[in-house]
Symmetry: C2
Subunit: 325 residues, 2 copies
Amino acid sequence: MASINKACVIGSGLIGRCWAALFARAGLEVRLFDIDEAQVTTALDAIRDIIAELHDNDLLRDQTVDEVLQRVSGSSNLGDAVGDADYVQECVPEVLDIKRKVFEQLDEVVKDSCILASSTSCIAPSKFTHDLKHSANCIVAHPVNPPHYIPVVEVVPAPWTSELTIETTRAFQLRLGQAPVVLRKEVNGFIINRLQYALLMEAWRLVEDGVATPQDVDTAVSQGLGLRWSFMGPFETIDLNAPGGVVDYCNRYGDTISAVCREQEDTRAMKGTATAATVHAAMRQDVPEDQLKSGARRAWRDRRLAALAVHKHKQAQVEQAVDDK
Amino acid sequence: MASINKACVIGSGLIGRCWAALFARAGLEVRLFDIDEAQVTTALDAIRDIIAELHDNDLLRDQTVDEVLQRVSGSSNLGDAVGDADYVQECVPEVLDIKRKVFEQLDEVVKDSCILASSTSCIAPSKFTHDLKHSANCIVAHPVNPPHYIPVVEVVPAPWTSELTIETTRAFQLRLGQAPVVLRKEVNGFIINRLQYALLMEAWRLVEDGVATPQDVDTAVSQGLGLRWSFMGPFETIDLNAPGGVVDYCNRYGDTISAVCREQEDTRAMKGTATAATVHAAMRQDVPEDQLKSGARRAWRDRRLAALAVHKHKQAQVEQAVDDK
């Protein structure tokens, strides 16, 4: 497997900045590209802030801020930015034509072994990576915001993506400290959003059908289901909920679950509905308009995610210490 | 609203013990009932362990273990156990006929203002609380195991449950430190399991259709979606994911989400399926049969839940300190 030592980030927005920080933390030389020189300068300052925050949270792998930061530089010239990069991460707007154009341009300047990864959350890679010289090197690596506190990355190959590209990308994400999940087929919404939408739509029905208030549905997750899910997935959850594991669980409860799920085959419209207005109004009771608009509540969310990342990091260390005994 | 000072727990199994500890922590006098005298004695020892663990985790509200423990006593005589209790929590096996019989017996011995709450996770209260003198006082208060670390409690009234009973139960759960959610209608699975099943069934389809491995689906939750959900629900999540909140989010993404959810109207069988065997085998790679059977992995889960409860408690204190400034 080709080793990845130099990375290039295309696009200097929020996600691009986060990727740059993660790459630099892992010891890579990073070049950040944006058409607009001023944007590059702004982004480099923001990257320093991310790296400093990781340092404050003891998540910089025992490096100093300057050690990590000096690995990052910027350029508004695509060829210079890409250079002989081993890995390029595209972070441009979620517009198919823009993705196509960027991948065509990258195709012309990258070295033959370079992996071309897109950060897209929703566009299948087959839609913008066909007919390229480096099609086999193209893949989606979709992070969740903010990726330095939410490790999962969806790795989505196109039908023509090589196994080497898939495996190299997966291994690279692990090296970054991320948690890659590999899709073996392109599906709408990939897997994270499909899982999220399934839960959201049931939440929606419960409110629309007058079973519970939006706040109480949120509480059922934030003070209930979400606690286990913050460190174990739905399958391990059921595995531990019957003496004999998953097969035993399915024998005991499978028919009941399938029956409830048949009741859930009832998709509702969300856009422009009365339920959207109801849920929106309910959210404004706890988070008034000004806190939403000012970004204060988003800042709260990100503080909580950072604190949880630190908590999980410490838990992993505790478990490692136990295993080592 | 009637004040609740004396509580009785019917059934000395795991959930009964946890309720007794929570009641005692909140300052109530608690009597634990079991037909079998020996079971009562065993349970009282286990309750001491729960209270001691809460103390070790700084979750005993600045009380000593003995202060809290001395509030708990046991009895194998139903009339003595109930006495003049203000609140009875039933924790007998999930068998309708047993629930009916217990509620009939309780109906004969409780004082008229006593609330009769069932811990059932799945039986609608209308099925075992009709034709009782105290029907209006009957309700479900379904905890999630272990309730001292997972606060949510589903409060499910029967059609004849009084508003006073609903509101008193809700307020009482808050006093215990739990997070009550009130169902306004009986639905199969209540709301926690309905939400859980919706996610689980999509996880199931992703594996059955060869999109991702069981481990990767679990990772998508435990290293992704579950992080936010450990402190905010699905509605607040979308509220913060569009500049203008829920209505804006639905305008931007609602049609896409509804389209994906229509693809999910495709319930699969779980019991006795090849997919059950596949998922089971995948789980055994990380947690071998002996760790499952010995309970070692369940103990790990409970340690993580305890650590997360402590983490969340501290986060709440931090936020309170910020609010107080």
